[in-house]
Amino acid sequence: MEKVLLKNIDNPDSARIEAYEKSGGYSGLKKAFEMEPKAIIEEVKRSGLRGRGGAGFPTGMKWDFASRDPKFPKYLLCNADEGEPGTFKDRPLLEKRPHLLIEGMIISAYALKAEYGYIYLRGEYPHAKVVLEEAIKEAYERGYLGDNILGKGVKFHLSVHQGAGAYICGEETALIESIEGKRGQPRIKPPFPVNVGAWGMPTVVNNVETLSNIPYIIEIGGEAYSQIGNPECPGPKLFSISCCVEKPGVYELPMGTPLKEIIYEHAGGIKGGRQLKAVIPGGISTPVLTPDKIDCPMDFVNLPKVGSMLGSGAIMVFDDTVCMVKVCWRAIKFFEHESCGKCTPCREGTGWMRSILERIEGGFGREGDIELLQDVAMSIAGKTFCPLGDGAANVVLSFIRSFTEEFDYHIKNKKCITQ
């Protein structure tokens, strides 16, 4: 497949505006400005694009809701928090293709009649901040941003808002709180951000990769785009693959590419020719899969059928030398650290799960610990404002379900099955 998102990524000047324009960049914007804002939203609906941040919400529908709200000003926020462990797909877009994102944001803002935009960039990407700010400056100089873009009377101002090391700020309502200068704690929904978002105004939050698809949709049309990959959730998709494979990295492939093909063909198979033991398909919050499930197409509709989710498309591969109890413990330690503290089940439950896992891993597990872990997980799932708690519960429940024997062995023998 011809690369859309990672096009020209090997060109050392790929982040510069001249190189971007030379390869056809900003032509989608010019085409979009010839269209009515409503027609752009229709085109995005027709494309079938679903959000790449994790939840897979239809982008056109989200835009439609926001554009129907009569309040102004409206805000467009790009979610570049990329905090989900295992995920590093937005990084090449931010560091090497900033103008693709900026073009996507300008088109989106025009369609939504949003006059202000922010890129919420995680604090852990200082290099991306430099690149983005330089690219935004270039875009202002060329008249792509400002009060009267390309002389068409369109106004859109864009800046980078740097996060400060809080995973929860990737959740869209926490992200909004954080942009407003507050603690990043999620808000209850409804009202949804499309009606009551940043500073109480209609707000669209979209992931970096989602917005980076927009220029291409305008260029080739929604109909053609909807034919790429799985027609139920079409488009090119970035998969980040890591841990025990020969060639970890970010791969651009059609949505619906089988997990097995990604692991064995694109990522070169299991490192050192070892045995595959487990795969987390969509970032740490998504349920772990056993090797018998890897024929599954990687997309929003097929992964739920095998008990997991596409999430951010971050594939983590574990071979037979990796201890599943330990991975589970480290994942839960992450959730404990990142729980924002607002909801008791998540704040307290993640800590309890971490401490039980720690004793099992350390050889001090007790009989009944597995049931206890399941009980705590069930007391979190579905009982919190935002899905962070569900993610933590997912991890524990799916690891126990898929690797009960290994947990049992740890508890009974006070050591790991891999030793």
Partner: protein
Amino acid sequence: MEFLKEIEEILNRYPDRQGALLPSLYVAQKEYGWLSQESYEAVAQALNLPPATVKGVATFYAMYKHKPMGRHLIQLCTNVACMVMGAERLVDLLKNKYGLEPGGTTEDGRFSLVIMECIGACDKAPAMLVDTDFHADLNEKRIIEILESYK
């Protein structure tokens, strides 16, 4: 004062004063090295916010520092991918070689170490930031070579 001028510029990008709080805290942290009571108050005054609000927000976020840091800040990832690829050995190494504990600072004030959650470089794990420089594909030999270039 440079500090106030930078904050004024930041204020232009937000519809209200509190919006400028996170970037202003970064400015203060750069100016003071860490966020002391004095720096909370300076930010509070510049943004016309209660100091308690400023401190309350600042303490929520892991990347604002509430005690003095060493000359160089090492932020090492030990999340799942980095752990699988050997990050724990690097934590032990820093302890043995520099007497550097997670959350601590070396006696000579050269390094501080913070264990960071996923740094988004899982394909090149283990990885770390030293100040704002990114380093990946670390192993015991490489991490020492890199750190020795920070004096």
